[in-house]
Symmetry: C2
Subunit: 276 residues, 2 copies
Amino acid sequence: MTRQHLISEIKRKKSFLCIGLDTDIAKIPKFLLRFSDPVFEFNKQIIDSTHDLCIAYKPNTAFYESNGAEGWLSLEKTIHYIKNKYPEIFVIADAKRGDIGNTSKMYAKAFFEKLNADALTVAPYMGSDSILPFFNYPKKWLILLALTSNIGANDFQLSSNNLKNKLFEDVIIKSKKWGNRDNLMFVIGATKAEILQQIRQIVPDYFLLIPGIGAQGGSLQKVVQYGITKDCGLIVNSSRSIIYAGDMSNKFSKSSRLKALEIQQEMKELLFLNKF
Amino acid sequence: MTRQHLISEIKRKKSFLCIGLDTDIAKIPKFLLRFSDPVFEFNKQIIDSTHDLCIAYKPNTAFYESNGAEGWLSLEKTIHYIKNKYPEIFVIADAKRGDIGNTSKMYAKAFFEKLNADALTVAPYMGSDSILPFFNYPKKWLILLALTSNIGANDFQLSSNNLKNKLFEDVIIKSKKWGNRDNLMFVIGATKAEILQQIRQIVPDYFLLIPGIGAQGGSLQKVVQYGITKDCGLIVNSSRSIIYAGDMSNKFSKSSRLKALEIQQEMKELLFLNKF
């Protein structure tokens, strides 16, 4: 999927919402357990009731792998379902992979060829050769962890031992030499919204994937205030607060739609205020 | 698996060899393609012909994921096969995972409960809460990336912007407060053997997982010279140079055995010289 396509979808839907499909089989409505693949059934209903409000879905691989090979099949079916029914939607495999060059090539094959995701999240710790193989796929995206939304971000990413830059700044500065604004994005947690100003000095025109609003407590308004660009440049994710918005009844996906709609309406207003 | 068990296996087998099961379906002998699960069949033959020479196997998830849900099934079957037939052997899932606490819990479930691996490799970038959930499993191990064997290790791990410590040193110093020598190991590439001396100042009694001998060019002798402890403290991995040692005939696993034996004999000699 091209950058231009993403921007036009944001304009068309008046939304830069990504819905995280962190589907935990222990948390979904019990009546779904009679389906042969309850996780896939849950995802399908969430997708069908929210697809017009979001521009991206982001399944996190951990939740699927916790069900073993069967879980991986649910993941495959979920991505296939989105790609077939709603081909305009951007699919991010949130897998946080990264390995030596030879092995990262296999991850690129796994996620871009076999699973047909549009984007993959990658951890930068292993450096250039762990990242470069993903850029060999036209219209596919690598989304690099820079400054994450969790408490552990303080341990290394914001490490202050450093004379000049924090680690997350080094990651952004170096990796933008390896990729470009058409194949590389960065993860920046919404819980660190103020830092977005500083990050926009380094990457004024890159897309950022922002998790951490909703269950993690980040503010959408602040994210937009500090992070928006003339191309929007933001994909804001919410997972738990949308997909588990409902009760355990067969109307669960209606509650998810209402929650997604509430966020989309706020986004629409913020886009309008920013003349987008 | 306990630390004591690991040490006694090293003594019994006179080996600290780990064999990396980086099984690429494009590289295995063609005659295996007639089996219903060629990757599993390849692994089985490698395992049966090398199990007495090594103390650990290390499947890298990238190679399995590149075959999708089917590949994940090959991985499950491989670990199940080792655990049933050779329960004394340590199984490392080389997955380099790491996510926010809530999600790392799901990875722990995936690898320690569902797959029943003894150990999981984890990337430290996301800090404490991405690491802590793995310590809730007694007799299971987290193997944290510290200084990897690839060229990209220079980008961040050895970053010299830092006044006091390199990033990989920070990772070791901080994380040993979160785990201990009974549930935490570190990955240190054999291609950086000289640095082992310095690392042993920080973690004199932790086990280290050392990839990078063989195809990547590290020296076993140097690894032992700089890294061995009174408990051995080393698990040295070789992947491609063992599993692809043979030609494409049905005797491929004999060549793998010969290569593994050559390394084990060198290890035996080095252990003897170090009075182990």
